[in-house]
Amino acid sequence: MSVLTETAETRSARRQLVRQPLWKKVMKRPEVGALGGVILVFAFFYVMAPPFRQLPALSIVLYQAATLGIPAVAVALLMIGGEFDLSAGVAVTSSSLAASMFATEIAGNIWIGIVFALVFSLAIGALNGYLLVRTKLHSFLVTLSTFLMLQGLNIAITKLVTGNVATQDIAGMDGFDLAHRIFASQFKIAGVSISIAIVYWLLFAVIATWVLLRTRMGNWIFAVGGQGDSARAVGIPVKRVKIGLFMVVGFSCWFTGMHMLFAYDTVQSGAGIGNELLYIASAVVGGCLLTGGYGSAAGSALGAFIFGMTTEGVIYADWDPDWFMFFVGAMLLLATVFNGWLRVRAVSRSK
């Protein structure tokens, strides 16, 4: 083949092994924007609200962040896989209600209620996923439907069973003490009371980050969300990955639901509405793309931390709590613009 000329193919063949400076690597991570946000928001309330500077305040902020952050970690995984879940907010309440009512009305032991709620939550996740891959509708529509259905069911069934909009107090039931210790206990470090939910939240964020970056499943989640057709072409079971991700969200809703149940002993059937958007906002602030294929579980934890600081910061600064939503919106806008700018820089070829 004389037509082929051998030019310019090995100009710098060994440059692959060049190590990049650490700060450049960090700047390319999806969560770097959220990290900046954490520092800014913390500094802001540190200056504006003197009570915010105390350690107990930090514990409360972290607790707020944890109740958002546990589902947000799962929602981030789902969004990286290219889908939404609008039903996650009310699904938390559904899970608490299922556990509480099944235990009080049928089983008599709270642990049977807890297991029932786990099966129930996983089934909702599986149903969301199955409907999605079966109907090929956008997940926004599928989960909006389950969101509305669950919202109705929560209140309707609670009223039917208890004759009230809240469930009976479960404190003192068989198995309550152990379950309370597992899901909603407090412990003290340096005199500051800390909720165990914070520990679970950080643990889940670490596990999810490890799965995303260091396991085959993580690779598949990125691929499924990034370009489903390519993923299918190399033999990745795209449908199973998506259904699995919805079930992970189901699990996180169950876990949060159990914490809520044992923290308050009773469940308000109308609770949880609107939280699904905070989970999504946490994931997006943490660097997830709405279109999938990009994002970070650790970032969602930072996003939840920002919203936790804002909720409590507004109170400590003695402002009207109604300002919270304004801050959430403003922060979401800022974060998405900033993340978009960072991402363009990160994926551009100039170094």
Binding site: V3, R214, N219, Q227, A231, A233, V234, V347
Partner: protein
């Protein structure tokens, strides 16, 4: 320039019909080790049907399709892949936001450890991917960079390198140079030649561009309306011949005649 390797794929009088519309008739084709077989043709000429049959996406209903001398009927691309017949499509190849090495091993990840701690062997995968790409003369600065930041030609080559690394004996390349600039096409063409001549892979190169085909091809087939219009080895063909057949052959003569007559009438 004769690379008369062993035949890997042999199609004899293969055809495919959808209802009473026949998409492909009487196509006979032999793909040999180390040879580049170019398939050219207009839109709707049957190129896609032909490669879909070879890749196992659809099943032929006439003639025989033999791999290593054994007649085969594939029900899924996976079966073809297991025999080393691998198709690289222009858009279906890679995940743009995923890094180069993750794309390279996507779906065939190397793992270490066991049980819950089973994890990716990142180091081995990065080093092997770098080594493999370097061997093919592709210069990628940073394997962590997303594939979407590579040029079109580099992306195409990474996808081909991946197929070669995972044991392809026959590579089906569907319009790999379409939508690429001159330099980028050069990169891909050079790589096609490397894959065939150095690695002994049988390449089926589908293209619209006779110039590209003529640069790397050992054997040429032009399809027209589901039938073979031209089937010839390189030795018996000039670029002008190929362009003539590609442009429509006898049909083009008639068109030229008709248009010319229109001109004189108007004058």
């Amino acid at each position: 320039m004769s690379h008369s390797g062993n035949p890997i794929i042999q199609l004899t009088n293969v055809g495919k019909s959808y209802g009473n519309i026949s998409a492909l008739r009487d196509v006979s084709l032999t793909v040999r080790q180390g040879e580049v077989t170019c398939i050219l043709g207009d839109n709707g000429a049957g190129k896609s049907t032909l490669i879909s049959i070879i890749a196992g996406l659809i099943t032929h209903d006439q003639g025989t399709y033999a791999v290593d001398g054994k007649p085969m009927t594939f029900n899924s691309p996976r079966q073809a892949l297991d025999l080393g017949i691998s198709a690289v499509y222009q858009t279906l190849a890679l995940v743009p936001l995923l890094s180069v090495w993750r794309n390279f091993y996507l779906g065939s990840e190397i793992r270490v450890g066991s049980g819950l701690f089973r994890r990716l062997d990142v180091k081995t995968m990065q080093e092997t991917a770098a080594e493999e790409l370097r061997r093919m003369g592709i210069n990628i600065v940073d394997l962590e960079q997303p594939v979407g930041t590579l040029s079109g030609g580099q992306r195409q080559v990474v996808a081909i390198a991946r197929a070669v690394h995972f044991g392809a004996r026959v590579l089906i390349l569907d319009e790999p140079t379409a939508a690429l600039g001159v330099a980028q096409s050069g990169l891909v063409l050079r790589y096609i030649a490397t894959a065939a001549r150095q690695h002994g892979i049988g390449v089926i190169f589908i293209t619209h561009n006779p110039h590209h085909a003529y640069m790397v091809g050992d054997h040429f087939m032009v399809l027209s309306r589901g039938e073979v219009e031209l089937d010839t080895p390189r030795a018996a063909l000039t670029l002008e011949d190929l362009m003539y057949h590609m442009a429509g052959g006898a049909g083009l003569d008639a068109l030229q005649h008709e248009l010319h007559r229109g001109e004189t009438q108007a004058a």
